[in-house]
Symmetry: C2
Subunit: 477 residues, 2 copies
Amino acid sequence: MQMEKHSELFNEIDEIVHPNSIALVGASSRGRLYWLKSIIESGFEGAIYPVNPKVDGVMGIKFYKNLLDLPGDVDLVIVQVPAAVVPKVVQESVMKNAKCIVIFSSGFSENSEEGAELEKKLVKAIRGTRTRIIGPNCVGIYCPESRVSFRPDTCMEPGPVGFISQSGGHAINFAIVGKSIGLLYSKVFSYGNACDLGSPDFLEYLAEDEKTKVIGMYIEGIKDGERLIKSLKKATEIKPVVVWKGGRTEAGARAVASHTGSIAGSAKIWDAVFEQTGAVKVKDFEELLDTVSVFVFCPPTTSKNLGLVSISGGTSVSNTDFCIEEGFNVPELSYKTREKLSKFVQSMGTSVKNPLDLAGSYNYPGVLENVLGILGEDQNIGSVIFDVQVQYTILVEKLADAQVSKIIYSGMLEGCKKIRYQSNKPVLIILPRTFYEEELKKVRNLFINEEFPVFPSITSAAKALRNFIKYNKRKGE
Amino acid sequence: MQMEKHSELFNEIDEIVHPNSIALVGASSRGRLYWLKSIIESGFEGAIYPVNPKVDGVMGIKFYKNLLDLPGDVDLVIVQVPAAVVPKVVQESVMKNAKCIVIFSSGFSENSEEGAELEKKLVKAIRGTRTRIIGPNCVGIYCPESRVSFRPDTCMEPGPVGFISQSGGHAINFAIVGKSIGLLYSKVFSYGNACDLGSPDFLEYLAEDEKTKVIGMYIEGIKDGERLIKSLKKATEIKPVVVWKGGRTEAGARAVASHTGSIAGSAKIWDAVFEQTGAVKVKDFEELLDTVSVFVFCPPTTSKNLGLVSISGGTSVSNTDFCIEEGFNVPELSYKTREKLSKFVQSMGTSVKNPLDLAGSYNYPGVLENVLGILGEDQNIGSVIFDVQVQYTILVEKLADAQVSKIIYSGMLEGCKKIRYQSNKPVLIILPRTFYEEELKKVRNLFINEEFPVFPSITSAAKALRNFIKYNKRKGE
């Protein structure tokens, strides 16, 4: 942390995500010790103070009757007591010089008029103090670097992805599902009703944070639209911000009101905000995940020319259709490239024109390594999408009774590395649904370990790449 | 088989898919014995005659030098010799009174002018005989009932799905991926260049076949458009036909020409064909699979009113958005239903308005069973979409150190059964991507065993249900 060159807001939030001590108010055995276990299993190394007047100790850990009983001040307070008791806990947290209170409890503005009044009390209680609130109705912070997490099973290796989510569920899902496609996180914030700190604050923080290279967001509603627009503009000048807006429809907006007590706003206005600020708009969870993954794992390109590779003619046809419909080109390859390719691809039942249908050649040792490398070198090709169908390779192994799959997979990886390191172009790996799920997982991990982005379908890869290119064009990269 | 009431074409193809003997011409050890192993491992009980002049025997099975050397006639001949030799094999097959020749070999009209000439020779050789050709450039037949398959690892339990695919790869993928979501097949045909038998023939056959309840199709091009339209019209009057057209774009059409030597035709004309015939149009492999699955596993409905259930407010919001954008309604529930629901759902952090956000109540034993049942009873609800996120249930188990997940999953199943059997409404299960893939597979199998349709995302479920409702409305069901 080089605090001197940062804004005050940055320093404030950076201290919040790097606490020296955490108090867990309402930690109970009835609640399955969710928070206590999350903090302990994430490996937090500072002081942990569970607070519950009815519990003496669990798992060999001393419980405190009251926040005020703690031996000293506390940096972060996580609250899971009933809504009516929360204002008292906030007051006590202020007295203990807490830097931040994460309010997990719900029953505030998302629930009723009385809840909204209660929420106002919370804000009043911290006004003029150094204490900030995240929530209520949220899961708060996940920061691998400081070993703080809202789940006991998140990956604690830090990485380049920052995520800001009004929904606790989406924050958790993003962190957990991201693990399976190789995404590593810098900081994740879930902020619920946003009675104090909200999306513009976290956005400004992550924009300044050198450890965050890509920002993802899930927003339901916003109190200060002008400030969000300003923050979005500023952030997208520094790094990509991928935004998913929930509550685009009337019924969705009704769900938003029940969920975080927010006003969703019109979809048209939000579209204008994205267009104006250069934020990358996505429409669902899958597209958010996939788009962030392209930003993390691919070198920039503005070319819409794709090279497509698969084992099957049918897949070649349909992958081409979908990419064209998403606005890409699938140009015929140069004569020179085709000539080079035909040295490795048999002439019957295949095509080396682009899309590349490798058919029987796909599973011959040495073929994929060379074919992918040659394709990447063609100057008409901007990115390569490689459709890996494990059900064919697993069959070769089954029939030939040999460890051929190992050679084939390592050839695939070598080929993809050539595209990335020799030609400096994006390569996207499609690993479609199959019956052979264990094999799929094994192969996916091979690609993830080498930091290639993996996708469950051509549709997901093409949408993500389209978003990536649009951003790069705007940035003039 | 009650042949007397069927058309001649039906009887002809039905005999082809129920052969008493199969000859495999070109079976070689170099080719990893793909075809021989496929037929043997599928459990085919008739005579198997591998033919290869250079091989005496493999795996204890006698090889024949020539088709003409076989002890008697042969019903089905599968050919994998080089294109130039195929005409001779076809002549010999005719002499052996073959009912059908499946030509796996490629190098015909999809490849070159000479290949196209060669293909014409094949047709000439069978003209006026009882022998028919499937292919060339195809994988032919998969029929669990007669234990004939184009792969050694397809499921041999028969079921209600018929599939017709111009692409061999898509036929294989459909069969293999379908296994993972509980689809069982009656007959699958891959027909490649379609020099003789083609999509209208198989369509007419499957329309007449009582064992086929739903037909899926992947078409690249068609020679006799009028006949296809007639067959489609006739078939959709009897059962749903879900069609995916490959080669909708110019580059896709180029790939089609390299793949099956077909002319793709304009996307507009194809759209008109679908509209006119009532065939259900889908845009990609995923949508084909998902739509067929709804037809197989759901009772008919024409209602666009959905009940949505999930554990998270964020998921509730985004699932609602997506369903509304796909043309569904997510109506507020009646006061009576909400009153019933609130007996099982805690009041804080949840919503019982629709979408149902169950939050902490989701993982309480007894809740899902009752909530799903009550939701299904609401007369304003036509179908239920239930988003099952295993990462929450697995965590409860982890934290509580008990076998709670078993109780929760069985409650889910009971609730879904109530919707189906007591309220006779479709229920669609979303099982999104997660890090916990083994748990996901386990839970998916629970639902598949009870014949519920499962989907990887809300987008896939909503598209499939939309296609289903459109078909039912047209049929007036």
